[in-house]
């Protein structure tokens, strides 16, 4: 079984290194093919591992000792248990699809080989993250996905910076740096959490740490829980570190599908699920997580309501769904969070890949106000995106229905009716903005003709590659019971009370009603033509929403600008005047004294002899003084 673990883990790395060999070369088709095949190998190994875990139990493999210093011993160990197996299958499946898809999407890109190298490296890092059996390995994967995300968001780094009015993300390299720096801020919190664990437990292995949880003081647990969650907030783009996710849409669309929807951004949720023995002992932190998640859910959904950018709308919906996951995990329903994570990965990746098809057809145009009527020319893409949107809205019997409804049941069962209400409301908003997107893109009048676009459907194999996601977006929810049974082998089972049990049909009805209501509103407004109301668009709430609550501008004014000024002072005043001046002074002293003493070198033996005599006399005097003193 160990060989399967290593196969699943290292196949993407080999693919990445292979593609990297040709990174600077023009496009070679086989780099795409080889990396996709290796990803498929990894996927097969993951599925076999999942079966093995199902039948026999967790697999543990230790590759080698990594850090051994004094009492500290950290191995490169990998543990494949129920949660990891689920994550591995989700990650490798979506990655394989995205790899195949990218063969078509990046067809004409100069950086084709480089792209595949980065993409496979990302999958490897993500697998390290989910498979590690200790916090440090998790952190390495955590940073690895961060770097790959940075590389891929900034993939088209040559694009110039523009102002916010033209492009809210400014430029790919700006967005990449923003994502990286935001994550760095959060990672500091996570590192502090890891240090706290090591200081108090003396180990970073999950099993040792979680076994030590009952002996630790409550304050300490709260501190660790909060610090680890700060790390999770960065990676999963929770408020107030959320701005990078929407800007990350500057990257190529397959990247948005894989990294910024299906896998990397769920790493924070994974961390909370993984550390459930810790979080279940500190329900107050859990409650805070749930509150924050709920807030982000509606906060992000509200911004998606008015956005015109195809990818940004989907990005906000990702943010919103991450909020749902955190709400579930925070309320103690860890398996529900994992279930929604997996379901969301499938339909959201599908939605993004569909958006990629639309972009491809529309010459990279993202404004949905300029589209419309595309279902005639892009039948399959329309079908995929329609299914994915229905799943996202939680319409029976698609995947999102099962996972999202369960989260709402949990919120109801915990008597946190406020959370339930907000999440319920968000479900309606989700339905509205999802179908606003679908209707404005695929239905209504064909506005694109006015702008001179000639949309066309993408290649056949690309559509075929998306099929697994399409099927899973439909049927994944049907396995809810099996899924629960499987993962509760590790995670705590979450039982709803008798009362909630009776309420379930009503809850489902209410939730489905608001979801369908949202779709109906979108239908009425947009199915025929684009309706715009200048009065509403000029109103304050609309402007607040379309400017993302002015948060990016606030961050720039309140944090980035002062920080840049402070850095300027530190550079010009402290670094140049003090640090550099000291170093330069020492160098200057040496140089000048050398320049002066160079004059001793007259080349005349007589002068040298004089110096020698003087030296000898000084030495003799010193010797005499020493003798006399002693």
């Amino acid at each position: 079984m160990e060989s399967l673990v290593y196969t699943a883990l290292f196949a993407p790395l080999i693919g990445s290194l292979f593609a990297a060999l040709f990174g600077m070369k023009p496009k070679t088709l086989w780099t795409g093919v080889v990396t996709s095949l290796l990803l498929f190998v990894s996927f097969v190994a993951s599925v076999l591992l999942l079966q093995h875990v199902m039948a026999v139990g967790p697999v543990h493999a230790t590759l080698m000792d990594w850090i051994v210093a004094g009492d500290m011993r950290i191995p490169f160990g990998f543990n494949v248990d129920q949660v990891t197996a689920v994550m591995m299958v989700v990650v490798t499946l979506v990655s394989t699809v995205v790899h195949v898809y990218s063969n078509g999407y990046m067809e004409h890109d100069k950086g084709f080989n480089r792209f595949f190298s980065y993409l496979s490296a990302f999958v490897f890092s993500m697998l390290v993250l989910v498979m590690s059996d200790n916090f440090l390995g998790l952190f390495i994967g955590w940073e690895g996905v961060g770097v790959c995300s940075w590389l891929l968001i900034g993939f088209w780094y040559h694009k110039e910076d523009v102002t916010r009015d033209i492009n809210p993300s400014i430029s790919p390299s700006w967005a990449a740096n923003e994502a990286f720096i935001m994550n760095r801020i959060a990672d500091l919190g996570m590192l502090v959490g890891i240090f706290l664990i090591y200081w108090n437990v003396g180990s970073l292995q999950y099993d040792t740490v979680f076994a030590a949880v009952p002996q630790m003081s409550h304050t300490l647990l709260v501190a660790i829980g909060i610090f680890l969650f700060i790390g999770a907030m960065g990676k999963s783009a929770q408020f107030p570190l959320h701005t990078w996710l929407a800007d990350a849409m500057e990257g190529p669309t397959p990247v948005s599908a894989l990294i910024h929807a299906a896998t990397m951004v769920t790493a924070g949720v994974y961390l909370v699920i993984r550390a459930y023995p810790l979080y279940s002992t500190i329900p107050e932190v859990g409650y805070f997580i749930a509150l924050l998640g709920t807030f982000v859910a509606i906060f992000a959904a509200s911004m998606a309501l008015v956005n015109r950018d195809l990818k940004r709308i989907i990005a906000y919906s990702t943010l919103s769904q991450l909020g749902y996951m955190f709400a579930a995990a925070g309320l103690g329903a860890y398996w529900v969070a994992l279930f929604h994570l997996a379901a969301h990965a499938f339909f959201k990746a599908l939605l993004f890949l569909g958006a990629g098809n639309v972009m491809h057809a529309m010459n990279d145009e993202l404004d949905i106000f300029k589209m419309g009527g595309l279902k005639k020319v892009m039948r399959w893409t329309y079908l995929y995106m329609g299914v994915a949107s229905l799943a996202l809205c939680g319409i029976w019997p698609l995947a999102g229905f099962y996972s999202k409804d369960t989260i709402l049941e949990v919120a109801f069962n915990e008597h946190t009716y406020g959370i339930w209400f907000v999440l319920w409301l968000t479900a309606g908003l989700t339905a509205f903005y999802s179908f606003r997107l679908v209707f404005l893109t695929f239905w209504s009048d064909e506005r694109y003709k006015k702008y001179g676009f000639h949309p066309h459907e993408v290649q056949k194999y690309v559509l075929w590659a998306m099929a697994p996601l399409g099927i899973l977006a439909v049927i994944f929810g049907w396995w809810k019971e099996e899924f629960m049974e499987f993962v509760t082998g590790l995670l705590p089972a979450y039982e709803v009370s008798e009362h909630t049990h009776h309420m379930v049909p009503i809850l489902i009805a209410v939730t489905s009603a608001i979801a369908i209501g949202g779709i109906v509103v979108a239908y009425v407004l947009y199915h025929k033509r684009l309706r715009r109301n200048p009065k509403i668009e000029a109103s304050l709430p609309y402007r607040i929403l379309s400017n993302q609550y002015y948060i990016p501008i606030l961050y720039e004014k309140a944090i980035s600008k002062p920080y840049a000024e402070l850095s300027d002072i530190a550079w010009k005043e402290i670094d140049m005047q003090v640090v550099d001046a000291t170093v330069d002074g020492i160098a200057k002293l040496v140089e000048e004294s050398g320049d002066e003493s160079r004059k001793m070198q007259t080349g005349n033996l007589s002068d040298y002899l004089k110096w020698m005599a003087a030296g000898a006399i000084i030495l003799a005097v010193l010797a005499v003084v020493a003798v006399v003193k002693s």
Binding site: M600, N604, L605, S606, L609, K610
Partner: protein
């Protein structure tokens, strides 16, 4: 009565004369003479102290110095002749090729 200190003073005087010669003279040949004087100053001191302590090792050392000085002069004078043939002078102020 001539005692140890007289010898040592003589040696010191000789050494100083040699040292001044080394520093002041410009002719390389004169420099050689000056070095010889210094070496012999050391020899005088060795011999005197050796006799004072009734220890022969000092005198043995003096012999060594004489032998070394003889060979040094042999090699050094050879070099001086070559130098003179090449440049036609032994004045130190003319040899400043290593000026920094």
């Amino acid at each position: 009565m001539i005692g140890l200190s007289h010898y040592l003073i003589l040696a010191a005087l000789l050494f100083s004369i040699g040292l001044v010669g080394v520093i002041r003279r410009k002719n390389l040949l004169m420099l050689f003479f000056a070095t010889e004087i210094m070496l012999n100053a050391a020899n005088v001191a060795f011999a005197a102290i050796s006799s004072y302590y009734h220890d022969l090792s000092g005198q043995m050392f003096a012999f060594f110095i004489i032998a070394v000085a003889a060979s040094e002069v042999a090699v050094g004078l050879g070099l001086l002749i070559l130098l003179y043939k090449k440049y036609g002078t032994l004045d130190l102020d003319n040899f400043t090729m290593l000026k920094g």
